[in-house]
Structures are given as C-alpha cells and as structure tokens.
C-alpha cells in the first residue's frame, strides 16, 4: 500500500471497533501522547480522540409534539409550567427555548433578578420524568374547535420530543473581565469591578472544536454524545464563523465555529441537561456534548494533541466595551493560565473563574471512550461538511 503510515478512514476505524481492537484516548491523554511521541507515532497508535464540554449553552431548545386532544385544538399559545413556548407551528407542535423565563418572573425589576425557572428548567424537568403542566389557548377553527387545553404531560407520553440546539459547543470563547466601577451580572457570570475576577467558559484541551480547528472530520450526520444519549451534529451553528484570527497551530484565538445539534430527549439523562439561572441575566440550559474525533492522519493527531498551554483566548471588557458593542481584545491568555486560578492582567494578579465544568467535560470524554471501546458507538461519516477556511 502506498498510503502514508497512520492514515486511516472512518470505515477502517469502525471495523476496528467491531473487532474490539480500536484504540481510543481522551483529548487530555492525547495531548500527553503527542507531547511524548510526536504526531506521526500518535497517528499510528491512536484511532479516536474523545472530547467533552459541559456548560450553559443559551441557544438550546426542544421541539415537542404533545398529541391531539378531544375535541381537537390548533394551539396558538402554549405554556409549559407557565413558561411560554413558541406555538406558531402546526396544531400541536411547539418549540420551547432554553432562555425563556416563566411568564410571571419579575425579571430584572429588582436588579439583579434571580430567574429561578425558565425553558431550560422545563427541559430538564421533562428529561427527569417529572410532570409538567401544559396550558394552551386557541382561536378555534371548524376542524379544531377547542379553545382551551390544560393537561399534565410527562416525557414518556409525548409522541415526539427532540432536543434541537441551534448553536452549541462554541469553538473558544471570550475571557470576560469588568473594567467598570460596579459589579455586573452577565451571561459569563458575576464580574466584580476593576478586573476583580476573570471568567471563562471552555473546557480547553477537552473542547470538541478546539481539537478539530478546521472542522475536517465533522459535519452533518456526525454521531455525538448529547445530554447523556447519542445525538447528531446537523450543521453549523447560528453564529458559525471560521473567518477569525488563528494562532500558530490553526486554532482560533476568539469565538469562531459552533454546531447545531439534535438528539432524542427520551434517551437523555437529567445529569447532562441541566436548567440554569444566571443571576441578573436570565435562564439557560447547561448541555453536555462530546464529539469523537477520528485520527485520520498525522495532521489530525497534531490537532487533537493540542494542550491547554497552546490554546489561547482573548480578554474582553464586559463592563464598558462589550455592552456598547465595541468589544476588542485586551490581550491573550492561555487556558493553562486560566485553569491555574490566577492570570496576569495589567501587572495585577486576577482570580480566574470557570463557567464550564472541566470535571464533567472529562467525564463525558471518558463515557464516549467507553462507548466506543465497548462497540456500542460507531463513528459516522459526515454527509455535509461545515464551512471552513484554508489552512
């Protein structure tokens, strides 16, 4: 065979999975392997690198069909546990978004608001098997005369419930600080004045898209871990942008790519789909995602071998610049430094605070590794790649 050593296809990897011969490592293990043996050897030894991330991902939600009622209804307004869902679809189809607060929530009227319950919590409650109160109103038609519906629903009796998140698994994200003189409450958490703390939200070397910076192995149809079950990448996320500044290794230095993902809610686990309340900001959903990256060649070994020391993000001021829409990088910081607990900023030591759970991300990478090793998870060929740039 005239093929370069270490080069393989997804088909070949799947054959090795079925034969029980596949070699799978987590992304943090791969960083060590590549450091020790170099990418050429790593590509020959390793078939798949598993990644993981677990953090609030606001652009998430679920498509639900709640089944027809007697008499029939064409629901025009629908609430789940008093959280409004989008009902501008067919008669009993709705979309519930993660950030929608309960209708009677005081929001930020007493600042900072607590946002105790919203769409993300509804989704978690459903996944946990809890009863959820569905309320619907309608204007009534000849074929759908019913104008009001009150019903308790549980996930198991819904005809259809699919998590479909329009934008998840951001490839890199800002490190947020606050240079103003008062404490602010953001989607990046609480930021104390005068750079009192620096918050970040990426699992660094474990992060899916930081391990495949040019999206060479994933696209529509890639099977992934989503919320504790098997789900799929269905395309680029709603703010997918490969055209950003990249470092020496090709990895973006600012928020770049992202993914649209979907999966069957009925197979998910509430441990990996958690409704969250961001004080002063709103409701959201913490989502667990893990993407297996096939080590198809030496280049992919190099990409997946990246470590926290080689991954950087930009520092952004959320006190003045970001809200004004004039955000610009105040400097770069490595994930190794962010994970250490303090970073240097303008000569001062600033405590660093993660919003993304590294512990849970690692657990996801390990679960996917186990799934693949046991033969219950085969890799899929992406059918359509997501937009990228020249490397």
């Amino acid at each position: 065979m005239a093929r370069k050593k270490g080069t393989k296809t997804i088909k070949e990897i799947n054959r090795r999975i079925k034969e029980g011969k596949v070699v799978v490592v987590t992304a943090d293990e791969m960083a060590e392997i590549v450091k020790r043996k170099g990418p050429t050897k790593a590509a020959m030894e390793v078939d798949v690198v598993t990644t993981g991330t677990f953090a609030p991902m606001c652009s998430s939600g679920a498509f639900i069909n709640f089944g027809h009622s007697k008499p029939a209804i064409k629901a025009s307004k629908v609430w789940l546990n008093d959280v409004p869902a989008y009902a501008g679809l067919a008669a009993v189809d709705i979309y519930i978004g993660a950030t929608e607060p309960a209708e009677d929530d005081p929001l930020n009227r007493v600042h900072p608001g607590q946002f105790k319950y919203g769409g993300g919590h509804v989704i978690q409650d459903l996944v946990a098997g809890k009863k959820v109160a569905l309320r619907a109103t309608a204007y009534g038609t000849d074929c759908y005369p019913n104008r009001k519906l009150n019903r308790k629903i549980t996930l198991s009796d819904l005809p259809y419930a699919v998590l479909l998140n329009p934008r998840n698994a951001y490839q890199n994200y800002n490190c947020a600080i606050n240079l103003s003189n008062k404490t602010i409450y953001t989607y990046m958490g609480v930021l104390k004045p005068r750079a009192g703390n620096a918050n970040y939200s990426t699992s660094g070397q474990l992060s899916p898209l930081l391990n495949d910076p040019f999206y060479l192995t994933l696209g529509m149809g890639t099977r992934i871990f989503l919320g504790g079950a098997k789900g799929y990448i269905i395309g680029p996320g709603t703010q997918h942008n490969p055209n950003v500044k990249r470092g020496k290794t090709g990895v973006p230095l600012s928020p770049a790519g992202n993914l649209m993902v979907m999966g069957d809610m009925k197979e998910m686990d509430p441990k990996w789909i958690v409704g969250v309340s961001m004080v002063g900001y709103g409701c959201s959903l913490a989502v667990g995602i893990g993407v297996p990256i096939p080590v198809l060649n030496e280049e992919m070994a190099r990409f997946t071998g990246v470590s926290d020391e080689e991954l950087f993000t930009q520092i952004i001021d959320y006190g003045n610049d970001y809200p004004k829409g004039t955000a610009h990088s105040l400097g770069l910081v490595s994930y190794a430094e962010l994970k250490s607990g303090t970073m240097k900023f303008n000569g001062k030591d600033v405590p660093t605070v993660p919003m993304s759970s590294y512990l849970r991300a690692l657990e996801i990478a390990r679960i996917v590794k186990k799934w693949i090793e046991s033969g219950e998870f085969l890799l899929t060929e992406p059918q359509v790649m997501i937009p990228t740039v020249k490397r």
């Binding site: 104390k192 913490a286 405590p351 759970s357 849970r360």
Partner: protein, 141 residues
C-alpha cells in the same frame, strides 16, 4: 431592609431589663422572637429575627454588646446540594472567604463549610442553584 437571625445570651444582671423594647425604640428595629428562655441561674437566651436598616442593626448590636450580652449570628447555615452541583466554579467568583474553592488540577469545586460566613453570595450566583440557606433548627429546640 436588612434582616438577620441572631442568638442573644443575657447575663443574669440584665435579664430583667426591657432590652428588646429598647431595640425597637432607640434603633427602629423590629423583631420576631422564635424562642426565649430564662434558665434556672437567671441567664437568658433568645433566638430572634432582627429587621431594620443595616446601620441601625449594627448600632443595635453594639448596644446589646455594651450590656455584656453575647450576640451570635449563626442562626443559619449554607448547605450544598451535591446532586445539583455540576462543578462549574461560578461560585468561586463571589465567595469572600474561600469556603468555595477549586481543587486543581482536577478542577473539582469544593465547599469547606467551616470557612463559610453564611453571606449567601453563592446562593444566587450558582447557576444550578445548588447552594441553600437552612435555618439551624437546633437552636430552636
């Protein structure tokens, strides 16, 4: 409006004085007594919620201490729901005493309740709402 649960210990010398009434009159505080006892040796114990302007609260406490009373504010306790905590680390941004901290390199978020001052900052900062305020009921029994 500031409110806090306090435990007051009265020495025998002042147990007959209208001290709580003075808190209302002199410092514009309101109170809600959850428990009050005078022990056989004449020292007293009261558990109450004191409510008012924070400045007045502080002046009131100073007044109590000037009478030789012991004032303890440990009527409440912060607990972590281990099931709910997903170890992000958001709480460590606001915890002033370091009771909530990250064990590295594992990146596990730990809670040392001995260091906790029950300031409640973490209760709202926790995205998963894993931190809860619980009344220390043992004082009421």
């Amino acid at each position: 409006m500031y409110s806090k649960m306090v435990t007051l210990r009265f020495p025998p010398e002042v147990v007959n004085e209208p001290i709580i009434a003075n808190l209302v009159k002199k410092f514009d505080l309101t109170f809600n007594i959850l428990k009050a006892t005078i022990y056989p040796r004449k020292e007293g114990l009261a558990v109450m919620e004191l409510r008012g302007h924070k400045k007045n609260f502080q002046r009131g406490v100073r007044y109590l201490k000037s009478l030789g009373m012991k004032v303890e504010s440990l009527g409440q306790d912060i607990k972590r729901d281990e099931e709910k905590c997903f170890h992000c680390g958001a709480c460590t941004a606001v915890c002033p005493t370091g009771a909530l901290y990250i064990k590295r390199p594992q990146m596990e978020v730990l809670f040392d309740s001995d260091k906790c001052s029950a300031c409640e900052m973490c209760v709202v900062a926790c995205p998963a709402r894993a931190m809860e305020v619980r009344l220390d009921r043992s004082l009421l029994d």
